[in-house]
Symmetry: C2
């Protein structure tokens, strides 16, 4: 008999929709390969809460771009007050995975409640694990740490977290982690490198939908800092967001502008970034927006790096992370992969779900 | 109360000794982080079988280079006939991990028996999963596939298999895998690239202990082919070793020589490889020993690649694997890391053990 796992999904934006679509598309393979059947118990979205959606209906639903409305039609009419309600009385917690694809800290109580009752969780949402360190400790307490995955909080779905957690599991000592953690800023840096003006490339990224609705959410470096914080905590650093040195890609006085004003005044920064580019170029270097995790410190900002370093060779939205460890020695363990994209982010979540299904139940 | 997991180890060579040393060294961290205690139930080595070794005694034992003899002193005197005896009547299979660090197919019945009874297994030994495809099917049948790990069969402990299995879990379609899977041949290729003669660099690798006792075990390409076969089977190719096109780095008539004769006659090949190097160089290319897994076919052999490709830039014993997939699109997911070394190989085994401990038991 197949193992059955119920999914509860928080957040039905781009990533959440991709997760449902991929779960439905993978159903046959998951049954064949793992003897495993997922069903969708409930979806909690800011628009409301629905429950008991047949997974085989999901695919058609999320395709027609009315996902939220269509899913609501499947609701059994029981309107809930919060995500917490959904996990309050899980009928079968040890066969339940909660997936958080929202972008809010408000899911934290529900996630912790689910873990406490024996359910497994995976997040693409960066907020819970980059909130107060006390929350981190709650999420990662032994032995429930086995029921926690969070690959898609960092580097889209590229397996940065998985690789890091394996180094930790092997008791390797990680001396330094260095990498790029933003597809958007990778795109901006590649444009600068080609000679485009700063304002031009940022506006292009905005128009292509590569940035957040407010591009400052990317350019502030805070998103990169959140990811770096999650990696740093993974290797044992007891740090808060406030401990991170972040270099934003715009001056403080641009913070009070609205988005339109902000985009309009970007040209004022062109000369400054062109100059930095030329300085770097004269030293055979290129600019990259890099996070460095070392000696209990995180720094996030612009760096001039040789074109002949792995990070210096990165192009476009690709991300890379280098792990310098005791056992690996001088040459780091390196992972390079897409740094953005709903499909890739969702793929990371699905892989997490399969690992968690293995943890939840494994019969001979 | 801490989770207790009993380890049964097959093979006490370099990797097996490193595994025991690392398990002992990691004991405190494993308890703190995962609330997990490993104990060593038994060791099966070609020299004999010992059982009930306290893990805290292991460290001192394996340090003094008399590991086998010293471990034998801990034996409870019960001499067993085979590895199979050790797993025949496991008292607590669902808390047992069998680690295979041997280099023989003869462990297959014992490994399968252990899995059938509910135990988990991890292998650094390449032989079982590259033997007949029927064995592969036995090892990977659902749902016991959740209790199987084999990271260190490929690329030392670098997480090639983990990353590949996550792509599969996410139902991504892997169109091509390309990589280098031999630290030894990486060393040889780097030497050639620097202008050293073929015979010189192979003899150097032999003297440094980078090759197998018979260097032809590396130069034949069979070891690389085994690793490629394991990756190919992981992504669903139903192939046998005989299906692989392998280009060995010596002519057929060298096969009947003894090792000394073989090393002595390597000079006869210098001109041929110098010529290949120069041809490549004239096209700004370098020689690499590459495995390619594509369209249900595996090819293993020498390739001239641009110096500006990721594999072309590899130096020394490092390995790299590129995954070209449907979801990742044009740019592959790349993992680069050490391709040789007992410590790194053992670290991959330990990380597997932690994942398996999570699968074996996970209480709220």
């Amino acid at each position: 008999m197949a193992q059955r796992v119920e999914i509860i999904l928080f957040g039905l934006g781009n990533v959440g929709s991709c997760v449902l679509k991929q779960l439905a598309a993978a159903a046959q393979n998951h049954l064949l390969r793992y003897n495993l059947e997922f069903s969708l118990a409930a979806v909690a979205d800011s628009n409301g809460y629905v429950a008991n959606i047949p997974l085989n209906a999901v695919n058609a639903l999320v395709q027609h771009k009315q996902a939220k409305k269509a899913l609501a039609d499947y609701s059994n009419g029981k309107k809930l007050n919060s995500a917490l309600d959904l996990v309050q009385n899980l009928s079968n917690p040890s066969s339940t995975i909660v997936i958080d694809c929202s972008a809010t800290e408000s899911t934290i109580p529900a996630l912790l409640r689910a873990m406490q009752s024996g359910a497994a969780i995976t997040m693409a949402n960066k907020k819970p694990l980059s909130s107060n360190y006390s929350n981190w400790l709650e999420f990662t307490a032994a032995p429930r740490i086995h029921r926690l995955r969070y690959e898609s909080t960092v580097g889209a779905g590229s397996p940065f977290i998985t690789v890091c957690n394996r180094l930790i599991a092997a008791n390797d000592k990680i001396n330094k982690i260095q990498g790029t953690f933003s597809g958007t800023l990778g795109f901006v840096m590649s444009g600068l490198e080609r000679g485009e003006s700063y304002s031009n490339i940022v506006q292009k990224a905005f128009k292509l939908g590569y940035t957040e609705p407010d591009p400052r959410d990317d350019l502030s470096g805070k998103d990169v800092a959140r990811k770096a914080l999650i990696l740093a905590r993974t290797i044992g650093y007891k740090l808060e967001m406030d401990d991170i040195k972040i270099e934003p890609l715009y001056p403080t006085q641009f913070e009070s502008l609205n988005v339109e004003q902000f985009l309009g005044r970007l040209g004022e920064l062109d000369e400054q970034y062109a100059q930095k580019r030329e300085e770097a170029k004269n030293n055979n270097q290129v600019l990259r927006y890099v996070a460095k995790i070392e000696q209990n410190t995180i720094t996030v900002g612009l760096q001039a790096l040789s074109q002949n370093t792995p990070i210096g060779r990165l192009q476009g939205t690709e991300n890379m992370v280098e792990f310098y460890t005791e056992i690996y020695g001088e040459k780091p363990l390196v992972v390079q992969g897409a740094g953005a994209g709903g499909e890739i982010t969702a793929a990371g979540v699905i892989a997490d779900c399969i690992e968690l299904a293995g943890v939840l139940k494994s019969s001979p």
